[in-house]
């Protein structure tokens, strides 16, 4: 019986895939879903932070 793997951030495969496509590392995220599940909204929120427009250098 392999042990449960709490070290792997809990999410669903399509959300993990979305995170990968957006370049978001799930390890840093706090899940807001049931039982700490990382949701699509969590990933999208993280992505909007990382992709916040960078001011043009003047």
């Amino acid at each position: 019986e392999p042990p449960m793997r709490p070290e792997r951030p809990r999410s669903t495969p399509p959300v993990r895939k979305l995170a990968r496509d957006l370049g978001i590392d799930l390890v840093g995220l706090t899940g807001t879903g049931e039982g700490g599940l990382i949701t699509r909204a969590d990933v999208e929120a993280a992505a909007s932070v990382t992709q916040a427009p960078v001011p043009e250098p003047t």
Binding site: E1, T12, P14, L18, R40
Partner: protein
């Protein structure tokens, strides 16, 4: 009088009970499994497996009848019901043997006999008291009838229908749910005249309405008669048939009447109420983690209100074993359990119908798309018609998939991953479905809901 003690005692060795037993011993528990009849229960001996054998024989008969359409010269000469029985019994016997072997190999103690709950932690079987730190109730269900409609003679239930040693010339089926339409489909393929009587306005009334309507159309084309929205009033039996009267005054004559109006829970006289377990209309009430109100006592399968399906009972059995082991298993709600009706054409669904999704999320928050299998190459090759309807929340996940057509039952695997993982159609759109398959049609429906329909599979 003897006493045996186990970590877990399970009352009933059907899909729910034996799955719990298998998972429990795997997790290191000792298990006593009490069964009064045969391990495997309804599903193996009187349900899923033997009916699907009949349905496959029916498919073979239809193929043979229609073979010239495909360029095959074959003369259909009828059904050899004794040979059908041999085939059906061979399948069941082999699965039964496998199950017995597995249960034994895993070290589960099977206690033969009728059990009764005599305490929250004990089941009595004859003179023996079987103690368990935890008890799982899994006593299953029986074919119900209607008030005043007595089973016997030419008025039969699915148990007798399975074991008929002849093909009836004309048969009436009371109830257009899963079991009713499956038997209607088999009998028609075997050459019988069939009339279904359903009190609700549609066949398979729990399905998406458009699916019900398509099934009605397909049955009409197959020559299966049905009367919808009309209630049964009475039946009389005579020497060579039955005469049904309906509340609207119509009558139906047939050789046999199959009563398929649902299944009731087997919970009476088993000590459940005496042990303090809450029962509601015969069903055992549990919380969403399948615990009854009495600590240490769980219930699984058809006695728990909700979908009466073998794989649900099975999964509940596994769930409870893991729950007792403290593994905190994930709940799979009934709505996320796949449902397949194996008549011809098949019906398969998961998640919410459009109407239920609209109730839950708001009508303007939900979109759907119904892809007609006429556009699907493989379905065309199979000469089947039907559709695949996908329901999504706008800018949100896929919450329902509803299918009808030959062989669509197997497509539910993909649909259930999408719904259970709350995928968006956009998540699936980049994937490529194999050509020419029927699951391409599912792909097309997802593509359409993701805003990129192409309609050319």
């Amino acid at each position: 009088m003897s006493e045996q003690n186990f970590d877990i005692v399970i009352l009933g060795g059907g899909s729910g009970g034996y799955a719990a037993a298998l998972r429990a011993v795997q997790l290191g528990f000792t298990v006593g499994l009490v069964e009064k009849d045969r391990l495997g229960g309804t599903c193996l001996h009187r349900g899923c497996i033997p009916t699907k054998a009949l349905l496959h024989a029916a498919e073979i008969a239809d193929n043979s009848r229609e073979s010239s359409k495909f360029g095959v010269r074959s003369v259909f000469e009828g059904i050899d019901i004794a040979a059908v029985t041999t085939y059906r019994e061979r399948i069941v016997a082999s699965k039964y043997k496998g199950l017995q072997g597995l249960v034994k190999a895993q070290g589960i103690t099977v206690i033969e006999g009728e059990g009764r709950l005599v305490a929250p932690n004990a089941v009595q079987v004859g003179d023996d008291r079987i103690g368990g730190k935890n008890v799982i109730l899994a006593t299953g269900s029986y074919s119900r009838s209607l008030p005043g409609l007595e089973i016997g003679g030419r008025v039969i239930t699915s148990e007798q229908a399975l074991e008929l040693d002849f093909v009836p010339g004309k048969v009436a089926v009371l109830g257009g749910g899963v079991i009713g339409v499956e038997f209607a489909s088999v009998w028609k393929s075997f050459g019988a005249d069939v009339t279904i009587i359903e009190a609700l306005p549609h066949l398979v009334p729990n399905e998406e309405e458009s699916v019900s309507k398509q099934l009605e159309r397909a049955f009409r084309k197959r020559g299966i008669a049905y009367k919808l929205g009309v209630r049964f009033q009475g039946v009389t039996q005579h020497e060579d048939g039955v005469l049904l009267t309906l509340e609207n005054g119509e009558t139906v004559e047939a050789e046999l009447l199959l009563v398929a109006v649902g299944r009731g829970p087997v919970t009476q006289g088993l000590g459940y109420e005496e042990a303090g377990i809450t029962i509601d209309r015969g069903f055992v009430v549990t919380d969403e983690r399948l615990a009854t109100n009495v600590p240490g006592v769980y219930a699984v399968g058809d006695i728990v209100p909700g979908l009466q399906l073998a794989h649900r009972g099975f999964a509940q059995g596994i769930f409870v074993a893991e729950e007792i082991a403290g593994l905190n298993p994930i709940i799979v709600e009934d709505v996320n359990i796949p449902r397949v009706t194996y008549c011809e054409p098949e019906v398969a669904s998961i998640g919410y119908t459009q109407a239920r999704a609209a109730e839950k999320y708001g009508a303007d928050q939900v979109s759907s798309y119904e892809y007609n299998l006429a556009g699907n190459g493989k379905s065309h090759i199979l000469e089947t018609s039907g559709s695949i309807k996908v329901v999504r929340v706008n800018d949100g996940p896929i919450v329902g998939v509803h299918m009808i057509g030959a062989r669509v039952g197997e497509l539910i695997g993909e649909a259930q991953l999408a719904v259970n993982w709350e995928a968006y159609p956009e998540d699936i759109a980049p994937f490529i479905h194999a050509h020419p398959t029927q699951n391409e049609a599912l792909g097309e429906a997802f593509l359409k809901l993701a805003g990129k329909p192409l309609h050319v599979s």
